[in-house]
């Protein structure tokens, strides 16, 4: 039996990769993909906890289904925002979205 710690370490590694991509990437769509990586890491944690700590009433899996739903809505709205910004600024470079810079 694989122990719980392996899954948690794997999810932590995926989360850190997602954070790195979120901060360093310059393409707006790659930022959206990094957010998906973050959500998946959290979801993996939830399912692992549901399997190891609460195997009889699997509330973690229900939470996972909700997270998947929210992630789908987030991806749709995020891509719409990226399209709108691209139409206004004619680029997808995150460094040029500096309209609110002080």
């Amino acid at each position: 039996m694989i122990s719980l710690q392996y899954f948690l370490l794997l999810a932590a590694a995926l989360f850190c990769i997602g954070i790195y991509g979120l901060v360093t990437s310059r393409n707006a769509i790659r930022v959206l993909m990094s957010i998906e990586l973050l959500l998946n890491a959290v979801n993996l944690n939830l399912i692992a906890f549901a399997n190891y700590l609460d195997p009889a009433s699997i509330k973690g899996q229900v939470f996972g289904v909700f997270v998947i739903t929210i992630a789908a809505a987030e991806a749709a709205v995020g891509l719409a925002i990226v399209l709108s910004i691209y139409r206004n600024r004619n680029t997808v470079d995150m460094e040029q979205f500096n309209l609110l810079k002080w």
Binding site: A12, L53, A73, A75, A80
Partner: protein, 205 residues
């Protein structure tokens, strides 16, 4: 170690290597199209990990929603903003990247220490297994009924909001300069003409 444990361990290792490799590819590759396809690999290997964790329903939902909807949506987004542009190189990019990498490695070390030192209260009850789908359905229609309905309303709101944000009204025969603006308005481009106007004076607005 009997056969079942060995198979579980080997498939866990294969799925973990696949997931980390494709995730690194998503973040590090320069071609955005390759990144999008590798993102599908990440989702599929996470779905395999869910199956290892006795969560068959969530694994199926993962494949359906992520690979079937979100990944295709991202590919469509890439096609819609497909402009081959070389980003202007910034100075001291490596400094920001090194700082971010250091922060991420530190965060991973912190999380790893927390994971390895916490005494997890692993339950010894039998896993739900194939019965998991029934239990999820019972949860969704008894104690999680209100969040379930709220999630459906949220999906509707997100659908309408995405359409409103991404809609473009084409007015192709109209010239930008011929629009009579009313007095005392801010000089900004009309939103409907943003995709049509390609005159060089408009690009910096």
């Amino acid at each position: 170690m009997n056969l079942a444990d060995g198979v579980q361990l080997v498939s866990f290792g294969v799925l973990a290597v696949m997931m980390l490799g494709t995730a690194l590819g998503v973040v590090l590759l320069s071609s955005i199209v390759y990144s999008a396809f590798l993102l599908g690999g990440v989702f599929i290997s996470i779905s395999g990990l869910y199956i290892l964790l006795n969560a068959g329903f969530v694994a199926a939902a993962q494949v359906l929603v992520y690979v079937g909807a979100v990944n295709v949506l991202i590919l469509f987004g890439i096609m819609l903003v497909n402009k081959q542009e070389d980003f202007v190189p910034l100075k001291n990019v490596w400094l920001g990247r090194a700082a971010t990498a250091a922060v991420c490695v530190g965060l991973f070390a912190l999380l790893g220490a927390m994971i390895l030192t916490t005494p997890w209260q692993v339950s010894l009850l039998p896993a739900a297994g194939d019965n998991a789908t029934v239990i999820i359905g019972q949860h969704l229609f008894s104690d999680f009924l209100l969040p379930f309905e709220l999630a459906s309303v949220l999906l509707l709101i997100a659908l309408i909001g995405a359409i409103v944000l991404a809609r473009r009204d084409f007015l192709p025969d109209l010239d930008v300069d011929s629009i009579q603006r009313p007095a005392l308005t801010l000089p900004e481009r009309p939103r409907e003409l943003a995709g049509v106007a390609t005159t060089p004076g408009d690009s910096e607005s």
